[in-house]
Symmetry: C2
Subunit: 347 residues, 2 copies
C-alpha cells in the first residue's frame, strides 16, 4: 500500500516535470554528475556589473556596422543570432573580403566557457569583443578609429553616459568591450530537451536520444565535453589517439601553441561547446565537416581511438540534437544616426 502511494506521488511529480531529488534512473544520475543545465539568467561578469542600460548599449554595439572600417561589418554579421550564433560558413569573410583562419565559434552560451576563441587567447568576452574590431581581416578598424566614430554620434554619447554613470569620458574602447560582453552574456539557450531531462523530465529525451547519451558517456566523449556547455572548459589536442587528415586538421594551424608557445600545446584547441551544435555546421576549428554524424565519427577515431558503428554515430548525433535550446529573442536595436561631423567610412 505504501509503495502504491509513493508510486502515485512519483508519477504525479514526473507528470508535472518537477525535479526529482532522488530515485532518478541511473542514466539521469550519471548525466547529473557530468552535466549542468544552461542557466536562465546571465552570470555576473567580474568587474563588469550588468544593467539595463549596459545590455541595451551592448546590443546596439553588437549590431553596429560603424564599428568596422567601412561601416559594413558588425559583430552580428558573423555571429548571426538567427543561425545558432555562428555564420554557417567554413571561415568568415571579413574586411576586404579577406577570409578568416578558423570557423566562427557560436556566441550563444559562450559566456559559460572558461576562455574565448578556439585557442583561448582571450580570457573573457570583454577581451574577445575588441579583437575582431581591430583585426585587419575582420572589421579592419583601430581602437582610436572606433572611439572617434562613436564619440561623434550624439545618440551614443547619451547611451554611454547612461550605461557608465559617473564616468567623465565614458566612450572608451574598454567600455565598448564591457558593454558588448554584458549583452553577449545574455545570449543563453536554456530549456533544451536535454536540460528538461536534467531537471527531471525523463520523457524529454526520446529512447534513441537516451541511447545516444549513454554512448556519449560510455565511449568517453563526456570526458572532455562536460559541464553546462558540454565543452568550453578545457583544451585538448585534436588527435589525442590518431591525428585526423589534413582536411580536418590543416598542418599550418598549430592551435593553442600560438598562445602558450608550449610545444605540448601544438594542435590543441579549446574543446568546443556542443550546445546547439545541430544549428552550427560546419564543424571543427577548420569548419571542414558539414555533417554532424561525420564529425562524431571523426571525433571517435581521433580522440578516443574508437570506431563507432554507423548506428552508434546516429544515436550520438540524435543526442546532440537534443542540446538545441530556446534561441534568444532579440528585438533589433534602432541605432543612433550619424551627423555631418561623424567620421565617414574609410574607403
Amino acid at each position: 500500500m505504501r509503495q502504491i502511494i509513493v508510486a502515485a506521488a512519483v508519477g504525479w511529480l514526473v507528470g508535472s516535470a518537477v525535479a526529482l531529488p532522488a530515485r532518478a534512473d541511473p542514466l539521469l544520475e550519471k548525466a547529473r554528475e557530468l552535466f549542468r543545465p544552461i542557466p536562465t539568467k546571465p552570470p555576473e561578469l567580474p568587474g563588469n556589473p550588468a544593467s539595463v542600460a549596459k545590455v541595451e548599449l551592448g546590443k546596439m554595439l553588437f549590431f553596429e556596422p560603424r564599428l568596422s572600417a567601412e561601416h559594413n561589418i558588425a559583430c552580428a554579421t558573423c555571429h548571426q543570432i538567427g543561425l545558432g550564433g555562428a555564420d554557417g560558413r567554413p571561415v568568415a569573410i571579413g574586411h576586404n573580403w579577406q577570409r578568416g583562419t578558423r570557423n566562427v565559434p557560436t556566441i550563444l552560451n559562450a559566456v559559460l566557457d572558461t576562455a574565448q576563441s578556439w585557442d583561448g587567447r582571450a580570457k573573457d568576452l570583454a577581451e574577445q569583443s575588441g579583437r575582431p574590431i581591430t583585426s585587419a581581416i575582420v572589421m579592419g578598424n583601430t581602437r582610436e578609429g572606433v572611439v572617434a566614430t562613436l564619440r561623434a554620434i550624439p545618440g551614443y554619447r547619451d547611451f554611454f553616459a547612461w550605461a557608465f554613470p559617473g564616468e567623465a569620458d565614458p566612450i572608451t574602447f574598454e567600455n565598448i568591450e564591457k558593454a558588448l560582453a554584458v549583452f553577449q552574456a545574455t545570449l543563453l539557450t536554456p530549456d533544451s530537451p536535454f536540460d528538461r531531462y536534467l531537471a527531471g523530465d525523463e520523457k524529454a529525451l526520446s529512447p534513441v536520444e537516451k541511447e545516444g547519451l549513454a554512448l556519449f558517456v560510455e565511449k568517453g566523449c563526456a570526458s572532455c565535453h562536460q559541464g553546462a556547455n558540454l565543452g568550453g572548459d578545457r583544451y585538448a589536442p585534436f588527435g589525442v589517439v590518431q591525428r585526423p587528415g589534413a582536411e580536418f586538421l590543416p598542418p599550418d594551424d598549430k592551435g593553442r601553441l600560438l598562445v602558450t608557445r608550449t610545444p605540448d600545446d601544438a594542435y590543441a584547441f579549446k574543446v568546443p561547446s556542443l550546445r546547439n551544435v545541430a544549428l552550427t555546421a560546419p564543424y571543427f576549428h577548420s569548419g571542414s565537416s558539414w555533417d554532424l554524424e561525420q564529425a562524431v565519427a571523426v571525433m571517435g577515431t581521433a580522440q578516443l581511438g574508437v570506431e563507432l558503428t554507423p548506428e552508434e554515430t546516429k544515436k550520438v548525433a540524435a543526442f546532440l540534437v537534443s542540446l538545441t535550446g530556446r534561441q534568444p529573442s532579440i528585438v533589433l536595436p534602432v541605432l543612433p544616426p550619424s551627423v555631418p561631423s561623424t567620421p565617414r567610412p574609410r574607403t
Copy 2:
C-alpha cells in the same frame, strides 16, 4: 459671446490633439492638400495577399544570408532596419567586395513608392526583391542556386507550404520575391511629428519646423516631394534648372535613360522619399552629400534655381527631421538550419 464659446471649444480640441475637420490654420490646410500621413497598416499588394505566414517567411528571407552565393550577405546587410532601412554608406559593398553604383535606397515605406530603385526599373517590391539576389555585384547568386538551397533546408519546406497553401511546389523564385515583398510592405514608419501635425496636433511641430514646412511649400520643394512619402511618385532630372557638379551627379550614370532608352530621361531619377531622411545620410543617388543642409541647398540651386539663405536651409532641414517616424520593431527571426544535403556556400 458665440465666438468665445467656439474659441474655447477649439482650444479644448487642440489641447486634446483631436483632428480638426475644419478651421485648421492655413499652413496645415496647405499641408493636408499636398501630403498624406504614413499609414499604420501595410497596403495590400496586387496578386500577393498578405498572411501571417507570408510575413513571417518574408522576414526570415530578409535576414537570410544563404540567399547569397557565399551565404554571407542578406537583404538586411544593406537595408539595415536599425539604420533607417539603408546602410549609411555612399554605395553598398557586395559580393567579392564589389561596390554598387548608387546609394542604397531605404526599404522603410518603400512600398508606398510607385516603382522601385533609383531609376524605377522594378515595378514593385516583389520584382525588386529578386534583383540583388541575382546581381553579380550584390549577392552573386542565381535563381536556380537560391531555389536549390532553400529546397534543401527542411524548415523552409514547412514555411513555404504554410505561406503558399495549396501549391504543389511552393519554393520558387517568384514566391521568394512575393514573401519578401509582403514582409517589406510592413516596414512603415508612421507617427512622425509631421504625421501628428497632419492629424491635427498643431503642437507636434515646433515653430522652426513650421517655418521650414512653409519654406518647403513656398520655394517649390513640395512640387516634387509630395504625397505620403514626400517623394517616390515621379521622376525628375537632377539639375532641372542648373546641373550640379560631378561630385553630386557623376556624368557616367544617365539615370532613368537606362530604363526607358529615352534621351529626355538622361539624368532623371526617381524623386526620393524624404521620410526618415535624417537617418539615411549620405544623400543623392550618388551618396555624395553627408550633410542634410548641404543636400537641401544643392536641391535649391539645381532643381529650383533658388539660392536658399543658410537660415532658410536650416529651417527646411529642421522640417525634414520632423519626418522621422516610429521605426519598425523587428524580432530577429530564427532561421532553419542547413542539413548535410544543403548546397554549401560557393567559394
